[in-house]
Assembly symmetry: C2
Homo-oligomer: 302 residues x 2
């Protein structure tokens, strides 16, 4: 049988988030540190892990520990091989990789997929959120906005295929380092009308590289305020992302997994172009996903 208690961890590039859950998935305690994998010195993972979790591990020595995220990357603690799509909950559970010299500590593998032309795409961490957010039956289209946004096609909770768009990173890089950023104030605040205009512009002719130049002329000719330009740029980019990837399936409802603020922007954008959406908060999705993977692994049924 073992303890009903679990330690569930999302260890990403910039943050470490852990939850201690008891019987029935009840949350007993939480822990959050700005100790993402980039902040851990070479060879420093065991000490960092032991330090952050000493209290819980002493109180619940038998509790299995399930981790996901960049901790399983080449720059992380233990590199876990990607599971190739289509990837089911069971395949992820089978792919759980034990951490050496740490009894009962596991890392969820990432998922890779290949386009017909052979070009690969990868995810690490999102697979767990998806397993948590998925309704479990039938076909679903899931969007995870962010620096590298993911669009994922699901069938009966299997990750069938997915594609990444560099939307968030391109937005940051153009704001900070291109001529477009020179017209924008340092701080960004969301301007719904400017965002909407960017989104509608993305649906016109000319392509993204041409539309980008329009960010400059719209600013120079005073048609959009300096404060609105970064929202206009955001609308343009998200609009092009949606045009490229939202039609992976038919026009069915899209599940957005993310932080509330960014998810609201995507919900707005998808609404304008005719999609209905459903929202699942990212942290909630991770915890539920780790619980489901743990349950399969520990033979309790999902």
């Amino acid at each position: 049988m073992g303890s009903p208690v679990r330690i569930l961890i999302d260890w990403g590039t910039t943050n470490f988030r852990a939850v201690l859950v008891g019987a029935g998935g009840r949350s007993i305690d939480r822990l959050e540190r700005a100790s993402g994998i980039l902040s851990i010195p070479p060879g420093g993972f065991p000490a960092a892990f032991d330090g952050m979790l000493a209290g819980w591990r002493e109180a619940y020595p038998d509790a299995p520990v399930m981790m996901c995220g960049m901790v399983g990357s080449r720059q992380g603690w233990v590199e876990t091989p990607y599971v190739a799509a289509p990837a089911s909950l069971e395949a992820l559970a089978r792919g759980l990789t034990p951490v050496p010299d740490h009894g009962n500590v596991w890392i969820v593998p990432g998922v890779s997929c290949q386009e017909p032309g052979g070009i690969a795409d990868v995810m690490r961490g999102e697979e767990t959120q998806i397993m948590g957010a998925s309704a479990g039956e039938g076909r679903e289209l899931i969007c995870l906005p962010g620096t590298h946004a993911k669009w994922v096609e699901i069938e009966d909770r299997r990750i069938v295929r997915f594609a990444t768009a560099m939307t968030g990173e391109v937005w940051q890089v153009l704001r900070r380092h291109s001529i477009l950023g020179r017209l924008m104030p340092e701080a960004h605040s969301h301007d719904a009308e400017a965002f909407r205009r960017g989104l509608l512009r993305s649906r016109e002719e000319g392509g993204l590289l041409h539309h980008l130049f329009g960010v400059r002329t719209e600013g120079l000719f005073g048609r959009i305020s300096a404060e609105g330009l970064s929202s206009y740029l955001s609308g343009l980019l998200i609009g092009h992302e949606i045009a490229g990837l939202a039609d992976m399936g038919e026009k069915r409802p899209i599940t957005i997994i993310g932080a509330r603020e960014l998810a609201d922007i995507y919900r707005l954008a998808l609404g304008i172009v005719g999609f209905t959406t459903r929202f699942v908060e990212a942290e909630e999705a991770v915890v539920l996903g780790l619980q489901r993977i743990a349950a399969v692994r520990l033979g309790e049924g999902a």
Copy 2:
């Protein structure tokens, strides 16, 4: 009648290039300085101009001086208003703006154009190259590759409409400041096969923001070498530029105006997707354009 001698100048953001031409357009002397408008201190244009051209102006005091480029921008010597497209050779000649306190010194105006939705596009300097490179009759499609590439539709040597794509700048910014650059060596050298693969990739589904992420995975999975990745990125971007803008007209021959090396890359790209091209070297086009504008202004006929 006046002197048959002319001083023709392309004064851009980073360079100052002047040609002294005699009767029949014969080049007598040339001058090139890294004294672009960004290097001129506030109020420093008259002194810079007088200093660089003292010899010629003394030898040919009656020679008219015709300038084009960013010298006519808000950051330049005298801001010349844009001529709205459709813009003919005659309209540019009429728009020539005299430089105060410098007898017989003129600046060619830039050209603006408006899309149906009201979004503006602008050029300054390219209009002169176009007047020089245009065959003069019928419809033409001209491409001027670069940091901000221009695609221009011409009819009977009038600039009917045009569009700018931020291709060159996006390429630089992504190389220098995004995660894609981390996989690339500092120096870029053209890799024709990687470029070709990027170009073909641009014609697949998913959109530019998704294709960009493939630059990373193609590198990570070792399918394209580190040395080839910046050419692959270049092919992707130029491919998307062409897809967005090359169909401004029908599939007719495209005139490329530019420096030989970059023009060759565009010629290759356009050839792969089925366009024939004709090349005009940028400097040659500027000189001929300034001569044609001067001829109209001075009543000699183009």
